[in-house]
């Protein structure tokens, strides 16, 4: 296990005040919040920041952490000393199941045994609904599919510790689902309490990244490279769409970035999405005398300055 320097994670000194820690957390949280951030690995970053903050904002936990962290450095191998936490009393405030399950191994080694699930007794209630994210192929949305999905679920063992349990679900992916939508699997959430029914499981659908296609709700975007002469003179080219190959007519005078819409060729639905083919012009390399001559002939043939409308600022 590696030691995590929570001060380094938040970018504050070991003597930082509570206010400095809060400001540092807020800044980083805005930068890496998965709903807002475009940074790569935002979610992992955000979890790390949240974990650091949950310790450093709490005077008890911070003092305990400082005690074990005196000599350790970030990333160093680390084992908590035996009985390291004797002499500290935790009031054990506010971990719910979800946050506890998101904590790192390091955090659990230090604070994990204080995480408790909320137990409701002597009542009947529907079990909690669970949420998970699932990656599917774009083609599953076009054709439907059956997929086995492995889900890890935190649950409590006899000592009340959080342990991961895996279960495998066979899920039918319906035709027409798209990224950002949710599948509801009735009764696959947490068991009901007392005589209550089981909760539901919600699967948020994401598409696996695809080299050819981009996704926007039901619409699909793809780039199609064409030659300068196909762009200038028009042409019919073969386009590999998710629903099969299509002969697409490129109108004469199509510039780079022009979007051609193939109506109804997006993700299937009662009103199906559209497929947008975005023109990209690819120029052949001038790697032979003949090719160079052809470019020189073009230069002579055209009185063309694409920068005619650009004015310098001076």
């Amino acid at each position: 296990m590696k030691f995590k320097d929570y001060y380094e994670v938040l970018g504050v000194t070991r003597t930082a005040t509570d206010d400095e820690i809060k400001v540092a957390y807020r800044k980083l949280a805005r930068k890496y919040h998965p709903d807002v951030s475009k940074e790569p690995d935002a979610e992992d970053h955000f979890k790390e920041i949240g974990e650091a903050y949950s310790v450093l904002k709490d005077a008890e936990k911070r003092a305990a952490y400082d005690q074990v962290g005196k000599q350790a450095k970030h990333g160093q191998d680390f084992t908590p000393p035996p009985n390291w936490d004797t002499g500290f009393e935790f009031s054990g405030s506010g971990f719910d199941d979800k946050t506890a399950a998101d904590q790192s191994e390091f955090f659990e080694a230090l604070f994990g045994h204080h995480a408790r699930g909320r137990q409701s007794q002597n009542m009947n209630a529907k079990g909690r609904d669970h949420h998970a994210k699932v990656m599917i192929d774009l083609s599953d949305a076009y054709h439907g599919a059956k997929r086995s999905i492995a889900l890890q679920m935190p649950s409590h063992d006899a000592q009340g510790r959080i342990v991961m349990k895996e279960r495998i679900l066979d899920v039918t992916i319906p035709i027409g689902i798209h990224a950002g939508q949710h599948l509801r699997l009735s009764g696959q959430g947490a068991p009901g309490i007392g005589a209550g029914t089981a909760g539901d499981l919600y699967l948020e659908i994401l598409f696996k990244p695809n080299a050819l296609y981009r996704f926007e709700d039901k619409d699909i975007y793809m780039d199609i490279p064409i030659t300068p002469w196909e762009a200038a003179l028009g042409a019919t080219v073969s386009v590999p769409t998710p629903s099969g190959s299509v002969e697409l007519k490129i109108p004469a005078g199509s510039n780079a970035g022009k979007k051609l819409r193939l109506k109804g060729r997006g993700i299937p639905a009662t009103t199906p999405g559209d497929l947008y083919v975005v023109i990209a012009i690819s120029i052949p390399p001038a790697d032979s005398e003949q090719a160079k001559e052809a470019y020189r002939a073009m230069a002579k043939a055209f009185d063309f300055n694409p920068r005619a409308n650009m004015k310098g600022s001076s």
Binding site: A29, R167, Y202
Partner: protein, 97 residues
Amino acid sequence: MSTTQMQMAASCIVENEVLWSITELCHATNAQTEHVIAWVYEGILTPQGDAPENWRFSGDALQRAKKALRLSRDLEINTPGVAMVLDLLDEIARLKK
């Protein structure tokens, strides 16, 4: 880690097929009823129906309510702030098209 295999019950696409009452939406998102009511009066969620007990939320409300909850909890933003962030995120999505 223990592994259990099980056969699957039927599934449905929430966004196309589900209409929620406020109780169901709260259960699915883990949000408090007061939160959801505040979000409706702020225009973050737009259910059909005239009073909270008659509200019917479309399936899209799931994603929006989850986002609103995460923003208010993780970034400690108040309700008008959450509304503004969600509007700006929609705007960014529109501009990217």
